[in-house]
Symmetry: C2
């Protein structure tokens, strides 16, 4: 640890891990590479993350959380619920488009990590549908939406917009006509919630 100026926090280890993943890809990245990038021994890394699997799970969670954290500011905002829902879904689509388009190699690397961390993905989806549930509950309270079961409606909205956030559709997100298709699904979905 003497070689590093700043204290070795989990966040710094995860930053270094992302850099190592970016350089070596999901298959080749090792804990030794991460330790080397930080100027520490791999034992030091293991003091924070007990196994390589735990480290890979944590870096995947951090990557997914970046999206849900930026969306949560829409949930707590002051717009009317209909606008909130529209901006939230557009924000999710835009965030995914950027992740896939701006750095395709890192996106491919994280797609591998996502496939091997289904519990982390389940928690991420629960987080996102929880945010949607909050917006729908607010809309029902305001008399703008109708829903007998906001959690069920939230899951339906999430599933109905899969084409615009599920990574398996990433190759479609840069094709012509995708924004038009998204707007049409958004309109249909919002009409389906209106009181």
């Amino acid at each position: 640890m003497a070689a590093t100026a700043a204290p070795l926090t989990p966040e710094r280890i995860l930053e270094a891990t992302e850099e190592v993943l970016r350089r070596h890809g999901a298959a080749k990245a090792t804990v030794v590479d991460v330790a080397r990038a930080l100027g520490v021994s791999h034992g030091t890394v293991y003091r924070h993350f007990r196994t390589k699997a735990e480290l890979r799970g944590a870096v995947t969670r951090r990557w997914l959380d970046r999206t849900s954290q930026s969306l949560s500011t829409i949930v707590t905002g002051t717009e009317p619920p209909g606008e909130k829902l529209r901006h939230w879904l557009a924000g999710l689509f835009e965030a995914k488009q950027h992740k896939a388009g701006d750095d395709p190699e890192l996106f491919a690397t994280y797609s591998v990590l996502v496939d091997e961390n289904s519990d982390v993905v389940d928690a991420h989806i629960a987080d996102l549908t929880g945010q949607l549930t909050t917006i729908i509950q607010e809309g029902v309270k305001a008399g703008e939406f109708t829903s007998a079961d906001p959690a069920r409606s939230a899951r339906a909205v999430f599933d109905a917009t899969s084409r615009f956030h599920d990574p398996s559709y990433a190759p479609h997100w840069s094709r012509p006509g995708i924004e038009t298709a998204f707007e049409a699904v958004l309109d249909l979905t919002l009409r389906g919630l209106r009181a």
Copy 2:
């Protein structure tokens, strides 16, 4: 042709091609295998389908058409448009579940063919969204649905239900909870169309 009792129709060639695909898989099936299965020379097969690619395209179209043909009877039926739409979407999901679940190897083989025949797939999707457009137009005429642009609404309904007909989701179709998820999306979608 002397060896075969029935005349050699394109339909018989396509039936034999499906059998050959079932036995050998998409990568290994050849026109010679198809000709042998029919007891004819491969030149005879080429008289009906000019290239191997044309034969593979035709057998893919036949496989996809089976679904659209069975759904078209719902479109021309006498149910109210809302019921029609519900049964059409449930019929599409059920047909896909059966194709994927009853014969997973043939489904995997056709998934390869679908990937190499994007024009055939585009025509199939146009056929299906055309059927949806007809149902929505009927619903608008009957005052049951509202839509300024039935073709756009049809595409939105098709996209919103992707999770329940797009082959890339096939591994999800046998999981617990999938029927509940489908019903929730169906309810939201139908509410989105109601006048």
